[in-house]
């Protein structure tokens, strides 16, 4: 029975159900007409593909969640800028992941070497489209994490360049290592490094830590926002502008995570549907526990139920469970989510204390909770969990459950490699940007807000102090109506005099 194939994850596993069934069916029908067989295989493939597509759509929708959380966490004067960055990374990411990113992550041509793939450039001659879109959505998520860490001061042009490089190179290499059929860390290669190889079911490390570490490098090179750190060492809070959008974004992210984690079964047939259900439950419990811990911790340690920390806590729980969502049991998901939330809670303070300015907590939420998630696999995975998720050596499992330290060691190696690669390449990338076109807007522009100079816009012209509001620049005498309309001019509304 092609058991191993069944469990090959990215990107082959999408075929798993079909292959599994094929094996069963073909042996049974060997001497018969293959017709009912063919329809069944077609349907198995259809169902697996549809799962991947629908989950990809959910993961894509996380872009809206990232956009809303990040926008809510910055000041009104930088809102359009951060939204533009969120839009453009998904968009540019689509193009660059089509051209280059996929090839490096999963390209099968030209003798892959365990370090990076090659082949299927521009998807020429390629037809596993469902896998592409699923993987693209992950790449876009990794890219967009960074926007928050560099918010309110990074030039748009710098972000444009960064986003190409991360989706074309930095992230795809990590994917190749961890998820391709011959990545050196991959649990799906012929001879895994040791234990089960690096187990990161849906990408706590591969996606979130990459984003978080890249954000950290960028934030270090970029410097803090003006006013964040006082001369006498004080650390100032700079509140965002819209808690409603932030909460909406959190819920959208959570919703999208149901594509992110359960979708990472990459199929439904061959028993994967039950795995997906368990993954969904673990994801839910980790998020819930994360929020609960954040509420309690903030009440105890700051005397109030902190809304921003609660949002961060949910996300910390979600990021934390992402690696182990298939291999741990529900009680462990509660523990992992709770700890993930605490990691974020204290991570936010730590980052402040080392004088790095991360306006939305991206480094803590994605970077640190991501590392926690990867290690948690080595601590909490059950033997049955390793087995049901199809990893090759279920005798290595969570240290705390008596599965030995091997898997934990493997996880540590894996995440160290990912952090190292990302830190080095992101640092080089941002340094190169800094010393060529420049990373940062000028101080006056920063004070005025990036929206005005970079985009010529007020995000909320009717509300904010900077918008034209009820005041208009239209000269009254120059205002006329469109001919067909025939109203007499009474008052000019709020438009400005056109310059174009």
């Amino acid at each position: 029975m092609p058991r191993r194939l069944t469990r090959l994850r990215r990107p082959l596993a999408v075929l798993s159900g079909a292959l599994f069934a094929l094996a069963l069916v073909s042996s049974a029908f060997a001497q018969e007409e293959p017709a009912g067989d063919e329809a069944l295989l077609d349907l198995i493939h259809a169902v697996d593909t549809a799962w991947l597509l629908l989950c990809a759509f959910l993961v894509f929708f996380m872009q809206a969640g990232f956009a809303m959380v990040t926008a809510g966490f910055v000041r009104a004067k930088n809102t359009a800028n951060i939204l533009m960055k969120n839009m453009i990374d998904a968009c540019v990411g689509a193009v660059s992941f089509w051209m280059v990113g996929w090839a490096i992550a999963y390209g099968m041509g030209g003798g892959s070497n365990g370090l990076f793939g090659s082949g299927d450039w521009f998807l020429v001659g390629f037809d596993d489209y469902a896998s592409w879109i699923f993987q693209f959505a992950f790449a876009a998520a990794a890219a967009t994490i960074v926007a928050g860490a560099l918010a309110e001061r990074l030039k748009f042009s710098a972000y444009l360049i960064y986003t190409v490089v991360i989706t074309a190179l930095i992230y795809p290499v990590v994917v190749h290592w961890a998820w391709s059929a011959n990545g050196w860390l991959s649990p799906f290669k012929e001879d895994v490094l040791f234990a089960n190889g690096y187990v990161d079911f849906a990408g706590s490390g591969v996606v979130h830590t990459v984003g978080g570490v890249a954000g950290l490098m960028g934030a270090i090179l970029l410097g803090a926002r003006r006013g964040k750190f006082g001369r006498d060492g004080e650390i100032n809070a700079i509140p965002g502008h819209n808690i409603s959008l932030a909460v909406l974004g959190m819920f959208i992210l959570w919703f999208g995570w149901y594509g992110f984690n359960p979708g990472s079964t990459l199929g439904l047939s061959g028993g994967l549907a039950d795995l997906a259900a368990l993954v969904a439950v673990n994801t839910t419990l980790a998020a819930g526990a994360g929020a609960f811990v954040a509420v309690v911790a903030s009440k105890l340690l700051t005397s109030r139920y902190d809304a921003g920390l609660t949002i961060n806590g949910v996300l910390g729980g979600l990021v934390g469970i992402t690696a182990g969502c298939a291999t741990v049991d529900p009680w462990a998901a509660v523990v992992i989510g709770s700890v993930g939330s605490l990691v974020v809670f204290f991570g936010v303070r730590l980052i402040d204390n080392v004088r790095v300015d991360d306006p939305v907590g991206a480094v803590s939420v994605h970077g640190m909770a991501g590392i926690w998630g990867v290690l948690a696999v080595g601590l909490f995975s059950s033997q049955a969990g390793m087995e049901r998720a199809g990893y090759s050596d279920p005798s290595s499992y969570g240290l705390l459950l008596g599965g030995g330290a091997e898997q934990l060691g493997m996880q540590a190696i894996g995440i160290a490699a990912i952090v190292g690669w990302t830190a080095v390449t992101a640092f080089i990338l941002f340094a190169a940007i800094k010393f060529t076109i420049g990373m940062r807007v000028g101080p006056e522009e920063e004070d005025r807000g990036l929206d005005l100079d970079e985009h010529g816009i007020d995000a909320y012209p009717d509300f904010g102090p900077t918008g034209p509001g009820i005041f208009t620049g239209v000269g009254a005498p120059g205002t006329a109506e469109f001919a067909l309309q025939g109203h007499e001019a009474l008052s000019p509304g709020r438009p400005g005099v056109s310059q174009g």
């Binding site: 809070a237 509140p239 700051t302 902190d306 921003g308 920390l309 936010v348």
Partner: protein, 112 residues
């Protein structure tokens, strides 16, 4: 004529306005302003870190009245705006040379 400019607590405006209206002074202009004074600011927090908001929300109230009515109006404001706690605000009284009603171009006391 007197220009009476009061900085009061937002929550007291309704009481002040009602009192003025009852006294026969319906015409007022108000705006949201922020005040800083002896009253201590609010401590808020953002993702766990506390910060002080030094400016408190206040209402600025402008009412122009005839000289003889000024004391009555000031009394009405004082009666309805005071809570006794720090931060009740101030009234500033100054002289207005002319008042013009835009609609009718009436001037002086007739225009109030």
């Amino acid at each position: 004529m007197k220009r009476i400019e009061a900085i009061i607590r937002p929550a007291r405006l309704a009481y002040v306005k009602d009192a003025l209206e009852e006294l026969g002074y319906p015409g007022i202009t108000v705006a949201e302003v922020k005040g800083h004074g002896k009253q201590k600011g609010i401590t808020e927090q953002w993702r766990g870190r506390q910060y002080k908001v030094d400016y408190l929300s206040k209402v600025w109230l402008l009412i122009v009245v005839d000289d003889g009515d000024a004391e009555k109006v000031i009394e009405a404001i004082l009666d309805n705006a005071a809570t006794g706690e720090i931060g009740d605000g101030k009234i500033f009284v100054s002289e207005v040379q002319d008042v013009i009603r835009v609609r009718t171009r009436e001037r002086g006391v007739a225009a109030i």
